[in-house]
């Protein structure tokens, strides 16, 4: 099932990726080829097969809910491209 350019644009928007027109064209072709290969999965009868989300034979453990040392605010902000007043600085989300 071929992926259309419109679908590529929709997915790119969901994934927060700006693509060039050349990239849109290339990904439409390549994703179509990969999904075409994956189509063979649909012929497998899995009606009685449970999905595998993890291979671990035990449930996720829970740790005690107690306060422990963690990164300092300065450490957490050290890699930020922009920080101010102990916060990550970003452009406006909404117009003022």
């Amino acid at each position: 099932m071929p992926i259309t350019i419109d679908e590529v644009r929709h997915i790119a928007r969901l994934a927060r990726l700006r693509l060039t027109p050349q990239e849109e064209q290339r990904y439409a072709e390549q994703l179509s080829a990969i999904l075409d290969h994956a189509a063979r999965l649909s012929s497998v009868d899995t009606s009685s097969i449970p999905p595998t989300a993890t291979v671990l034979p035990f449930p996720s453990p829970l740790r005690p809910d107690v306060i422990r040392p963690s990164l300092t605010q300065d450490q957490a902000l050290a890699n930020a491209p922009a920080a101010e007043g102990g916060l990550f600085r970003v452009p406006p989300v909404l117009e003022s």
């Binding site: 992926i3 679908e7 590529v8 997915i11 790119a12 969901l14 994934a15 927060r16 990726l17 700006r18 693509l19 990239e23 290339r26 990904y27 390549q30 994703l31 080829a33 990969i34 999904l35 290969h37 994956a38 063979r40 999965l41 649909s42 497998v44 899995t46 097969i49 449970p50 999905p51 595998t52 989300a53 993890t54 291979v55 671990l56 034979p57 035990f58 996720s60 453990p61 740790r63 990164l71 450490q75 957490a76 050290a78 890699n79 930020a80 491209p81 922009a82 990550f88 970003v90 452009p91 406006p92 989300v93 117009e95």
Partner: protein
């Protein structure tokens, strides 16, 4: 000793314990070798020579004290190694091979690296990788390709290609890698070294930059199985900082040189049309060596093997698309411009992720999107169960599975061009172990007509890494493929 880099890890450890060489000397020898060879190979993205020499000096103090007091230190104390650049090292730039993490300096170390450093290992630097470990050649690195030390026109494999090349070219005694779909085993095979992929959960993923969280594992590469034992023993075991860390204790690995009585299954499905004949011949000869050592070899079936590729290339991109949502130019890495937050997200991610990473994010987002989830991601998770059941059934009858690592030896740089599917097919023999969460090991079993190394793979049940190391060590006691080194490097 003329050239310390010619020693194996275990020989170097013996020299340290006997006081015949110092960790500082081993470290300088590796750094000299690096300076001479890495301009051509480009195995490393960052070197940490001053930090390494400080660690070496500390290791030498510990070794001297142990000699004086008759104490025992971990065998890896003072050994210089390389670390794949997807594992965080506190205070050392870590990029995952991506421009989107350029300049990132982690405030903590990965548990795997921290445990090795606590045992006295010296870290020489960070090795090249396909961006976010997505690839089979290191061609997807944002910082240039690594060249195979056996033939510089060929890839070293990937994604742990820098680590494999560093070990093959004698720049480090061992290196850490990670394996989500074959990224330790395939480069080990292409570079003629021994690479261990651990069971899912056996080595903590804390501090490993996430790609596919249900598949990611930490492993190591060295010149032999015996050289890997100390690294594995140091890294493996429960870690409270990784909720998927296996709680089981790690048994001591015993190398007794014996495979007598072990049942070794050879799956028909791994000998496919289009395989390079030299690879099949070398693998079958190696199976005969195991039989000659007393192993009981028998054919087995893993009937869903051909479905591993489509299952993997839906599940891994789906998990990657979620994991890589965090790279948005807000908390780390560079930022690309925008007057509002959405524009900043679109530009930062669109400009700084490479083509393969964007392709996988797109594929994963599609597979998880409304209307397609059940048909793609949901169905892939169910077929993943069938692949696991194949292995469960096989391991009811055999102790080990023997098979090729790759259909061919190292391919040429640029050979797969812009054809992602043909590149994905390179992983066809390594993906199943990740989907099942079982361990695997790749080791050299010969060379093709062009002098390129051929690897073979053993798989074992979950948490049976010790059995893999013991079996490969037994093979390496009676063969010498693992001692060959590239001529130029």
């Amino acid at each position: 000793m003329s050239d310390l880099t010619e020693l194996s890890l275990l020989q170097a450890a013996d020299a340290l314990r006997a006081g015949e060489a110092s960790s500082a000397e081993l470290t300088r020898a590796c750094l000299d070798r690096l300076a001479a060879a890495d301009g051509r190979i480009h195995a490393f993205l960052a070197l940490t020579p001053e930090r390494a020499l400080r660690q070496a000096a500390e290791a030498d103090r510990r070794l001297a004290a142990a000699r004086r007091d008759g104490d025992t230190l971990p065998g890896i104390c003072g050994i210089p190694i390389a670390v794949k650049d997807v594992l965080c090292l506190e205070g050392v730039p870590t990029t995952a091979g991506s421009r989107i993490l350029e300049g990132f300096v982690p405030p903590y170390s990965a548990t795997s690296v921290a445990r090795l450093e606590a045992d006295g290992v010296v870290v020489l630097g960070k090795t090249n990788t396909d961006e976010f470990a997505m690839g089979s050649s290191t061609e997807n690195s944002g910082y240039g390709v690594t060249h195979n030390p056996w033939d510089s026109d060929r890839v070293p494999g990937g994604s742990s290609g820098g680590s494999a090349a560093a070990v093959a070219a004698r720049m480090a005694y061992a290196a850490l890698g990670t394996d989500t779909g074959g990224s330790v085993r395939q480069p080990a095979a292409f570079c003629g070294v021994t690479g261990l992929k651990t069971s899912y959960g056996r080595v903590s993923r804390y501090g490993l930059i996430a790609f596919g969280s249900s598949l990611d594992t930490v492993g190591a590469l060295a010149r032999s199985a015996a050289d890997l034992v100390g690294l594995y023993a140091s890294m493996a075991g429960p870690d409270g900082r990784d909720a998927t860390s296996a709680p089981e204790p790690v048994p001591q690995v015993i190398l007794d040189g014996s495979v007598r009585g072990l049942r070794v299954g050879v799956p028909d499905e791994y000998f496919i049309e289009g395989m390079q004949p030299a690879v099949e011949q070398a693998v079958r000869r190696a199976v005969d060596v195991f039989a000659g050592l007393g192993a009981q070899v028998r054919p087995i079936h893993l009937p869903h093997t051909d479905l591993a590729l489509p299952v993997y290339y839906l599940i891994a991109p789906a998990e990657a698309s979620a994991n890589l949502a965090r790279y948005d130019g807000v908390r780390f890495g560079p930022r690309r411009g925008g007057d509002d937050l959405l524009t900043q997200y679109l530009s930062t991610r669109g400009e700084l992720f490479g083509p393969e990473v964007k392709r996988r994010i797109m594929l994963g987002t599609y597979a998880l999107s409304a209307g397609y989830y059940d048909a793609y991601y949901g169905q892939a998770q169910k077929v993943r169960t069938l692949i696991r059941q194949d292995f469960d059934a096989a391991f009811a009858e055999v102790d080990l599975i023997a098979c090729p690592v790759t259909p061919t030896t190292a391919f040429g740089i640029g050979q797969h061009g812009d054809d992602p599917l043909s590149m994905y097919l390179e992983d066809v023999f390594t993906l199943p172990a990740n989907l099942a969460g079982i361990p695997g090991i790749a080791f050299p079993v010969g060379f093709d007509g062009e002098g390129l190394p051929i690897g073979m793979q053993l798989n074992a049940p979950r948490l049976a890494e010790g059995l893999l190391l013991r079996a490969v060590d037994a093979y390496q006691r009676v063969t010498d493929w693992h001692t060959r080194r590239p001529a130029e490097a």
